[in-house]
Amino acid sequence: MTTQQGDTLLYLDGVTVTFDGFRALNTLSLVLTAGEMRAVIGPNGAGKTTMMDVITGRTRPDAGKAIFGDGHDLTRLDEPAIAALGIGRKFQKPTVFETQTVEDNVLLALEGDRRARRAFRFASTLPERERIDQILETVHLSNHRERLAGGLSHGQKQWLEIGMLLAQDPELLLVDEPVAGMTDAETEETSQLLVEINRSHSILVVEHDIAFVRALGVKVTCLHEGSVLAEGSIDHVSANPRVIEVYLGR
C-alpha cells in the first residue's frame, strides 16, 4: 500500500444497498483521506453498520463505487481479501474468541501468512511475543494474558478487540461503537487510545455518544436514511437544523 498522508484512502460514491425494498444506503458518498480520523453519527437505521458491511465486503452494494487506496474495488472482493488489503473492523458487540486466552486472541490477529498450510506451527516467535506484550500493554490487558477471553468484563473485551485490530495493523480501522457499555473513565481512556492509534492509522469510528465524539475532536459525518445529512466539525454538525430535527424528531 503506497498511500501518502493526505491522499484519498477510501472513496465511496453513490453507494446504494437495498434489503427487500428497504434502502439501507441511498447514494451514499464519503471520502476519507489517509491519516484521517472520522466520526460517523446518525440515528438508528441511518445505515452506519451497513456502510461498514459494504467497506468490509460483507454486503455487496446494488449500485455505486467503493474504492480503497490506489484503485482496489471493494465491491468485487470478499472479506478475507479486503482484510488482507489493510482494512480491520471492530464490531458493535465485542467479538473475541471466548474459549481462547487473551494472548491467543492477539496472536490470531497478528499480521502474517493466513493460509491453512502455513498454520502448522507451534510456538510463537520472539518478535511475535514482543509485539503481543506491547499490544497488551497498550490496551491494559498485560495482567490478563493467560485468562480466557470469555471471562473478561465487557469493557476489557472491547479493548481486547481494539488490541486485535492493532495486531492486525491495518491501514484503515473501522470501529463500531467502541464505548457502548463503558464507564465514563473507560470512555475517556478509549478516546485517548483512538487518538494515539490515529497517529499511524486512519480510523472511521461510528458512535452514538456525542460527548465521546466531541472529545475526539475530528471531522464528523452525520448519516440519515442511508445518505449523508451533514458533514463538518461537531459544532457545525450539531448546529445544523436538519440534524437536530432528525435526532429530536419534529
Binding site: R58, A83, G88, T95, Q100, L107, A116, F120, F122, Q168
Partner: protein, 371 residues
C-alpha cells in the same frame, strides 16, 4: 512440537490405557491357553478391535465437530467407503476358492452372470493399492463435498442435513446390484489377508494391535493439529466464523483440511473394521450409524479428543451388553443415555472431568495465595 504432543494429560492418559489394554488383551489371548485364569477369549479380541475402529471414527468426528463446529451426521459414508476398499481387496484374495470357483470374479458377479471384472475393481488385488484407496476415496469425497459446501457457506443444521443425505444416498446406491459392490449382501466370506488366514487367533490379535496403533496415531495427529496455530484458527472458526474472515483468514480452507483429515481417519477405521467383523454391506451407510457415532463423541465429551475414545468404547460396551442381554431396549437405553448426559454432564464424561478440575483449581487459588 513435543510439548504440543504431550501437554494434554487426559489425551496422554487415554493413549497409555489404549496401548496397555490392547497389548494385554492380545497377550492374554495368545500366551495363555484356554482354561487359564489369564486367558482372554477370542471373541473379546475381535470385539475390542471393533471398539478401537469406532474410537478412530469418533476421533475424526471430534476433530471436525468438537474443534471445527462442523456437525457431520454422515461420517459413516467415509467409514463405509474405507471398509468397502478393504472388502474389495479381501474379495480379490479369495480367488478361485469361491463357491463358484471362478478364477477372478467374486461369487456375486458370477451369480449376476457378469463376464469380466468391472474396471473399478482393477488393482484391488494389491494390498498397497487397496489401502491407498481406503484413504484416497473418502478423502476425495470429503474434499469435493467440503469444497462446495464451505465455499457456498453452508453451515449449521443445513450442513448436517446434507451430510445425512450424502450417506443415505450412498446407501441406496450401494444397495443396487448393478453398482458392482454386491448389493444388499455386500462383501463377505473373506479368507485371508497378507497371506494369513483371517480365522486364526494370531491374525485377530494382529488386527487388534493394528487398530490400537491406528488409534494412537490418530490421537497424535489430532493432538498436533489442535495444538498448532491451525487448531487455534479452527477453534476461532467454530466460535466466531465471521470474525475470523474479517481477520483475513479463509475459514473454508481450514474447515476443508479438518474435514479431509477426519474423513481419511474414518476410512482407515473402516478398512480395519471389515476384516475383524468379516463383512461389509450397505447398512454401514445407514444414517442411524452416523448419528450413533456422533452420540459417542457427545457422551465422551466433544472437543477433548480423549473423550471421543472414551465415549466410543463406553457406549459400545453398553451396546454389547444390551444387545446380547436385552436387545429390545437398546435403542431406549441409547436415547436415555443421550438425554442423561445432556442434562447431567453437558460437556460429556471427559469434558466434565476437565470442568471439575478447572473449578477445583480456581477454588484452590485463594487458599494457596497469601491470606
Amino acid at each position: 512440537m513435543r510439548t504440543a504432543l504431550f501437554s494434554d494429560r487426559l489425551v496422554v492418559a487415554v493413549a497409555i490405557i489404549v496401548a496397555l489394554v490392547t497389548f494385554a488383551i492380545g497377550i492374554g489371548n495368545l500366551a495363555f491357553p484356554p482354561g487359564s485364569v489369564l486367558h482372554v477369549p477370542t471373541y473379546v479380541v475381535s470385539l475390542s478391535g471393533k471398539y478401537l475402529c469406532y474410537a478412530l471414527l469418533a476421533l475424526g468426528i471430534d476433530l471436525v465437530w468438537g474443534y471445527g463446529g462442523i456437525l457431520s451426521l454422515g461420517h459413516g459414508v467415509f467409514f463405509g467407503l474405507g471398509g468397502y476398499a478393504m472388502g474389495m481387496h479381501l474379495m480379490r484374495l479369495i480367488g478361485p476358492r469361491g463357491v463358484y470357483g471362478h478364477a477372478v470374479l467374486p461369487d456375486f458377479m458370477v451369480f449376476l452372470n457378469w463376464k469380466e471384472l468391472p474396471w473399478y475393481w482393477y488393482g484391488f488385488d494389491s494390498f498397497a493399492f487397496a489401502m491407498l484407496m481406503a484413504m484416497l476415496v473418502p478423502g476425495l469425497l470429503a474434499f469435493g463435498f467440503g469444497f462446495l459446501a464451505f465455499r457456498a457457506r453452508v453451515s449449521g443444521v443445513y450442513l448436517s442435513i446434507i451430510t445425512q443425505a450424502l450417506t443415505f444416498a450412498t446407501m441406496l446406491a450401494f444397495f443396487r446390484n448393478d453398482m458392482g459392490f454386491g448389493g444388499n449382501n455386500g462383501l463377505t466370506d473373506f479368507r485371508e489377508l497378507l497371506g494369513f488366514s483371517l480365522r486364526t487367533d494370531e491374525m485377530r490379535v494382529g488386527l487388534l494391535w493394528a487398530s490400537g496403533v491406528a488409534v494412537l496415531l490418530g490421537l497424535a495427529v489430532c493432538r498436533l493439529m489442535v495444538a498448532s496455530r491451525f487448531g487455534k484458527v479452527l477453534l476461532a472458526v467454530r466460535d466466531a466464523e465471521a470474525r475470523v474472515r474479517f481477520l483475513g483468514y479463509r475459514p473454508e480452507s481450514y474447515k476443508l483440511v479438518a474435514l479431509v483429515v477426519s474423513a481419511v481417519m474414518a476410512g482407515i477405521a473402516g478398512a480395519l473394521y471389515v476384516p475383524q467383523v468379516g463383512i461389509i454391506n450397505p447398512s454401514e451407510f445407514a444414517p442411524m450409524n452416523s448419528i450413533e457415532a456422533v452420540i459417542w463423541v457427545a457422551v465422551g465429551g466433544r472437543g477433548t479428543l480423549a473423550g471421543a475414545v472414551v465415549g466410543a468404547v463406553a457406549v459400545n460396551l453398553l451396546k454389547t451388553f444390551f444387545t446380547t442381554r436385552l436387545p429390545e431396549i437398546w435403542l431406549f437405553a441409547l436415547g436415555g443415555l443421550f438425554i442423561l448426559v445432556t442434562l447431567l454432564i453437558p460437556r460429556g464424561i471427559v469434558g466434565g472431568i476437565v470442568t471439575a478440575e478447572r473449578r477445583r483449581a480456581v477454588g484452590a487459588a485463594p487458599i494457596a495465595g497469601p491470606a
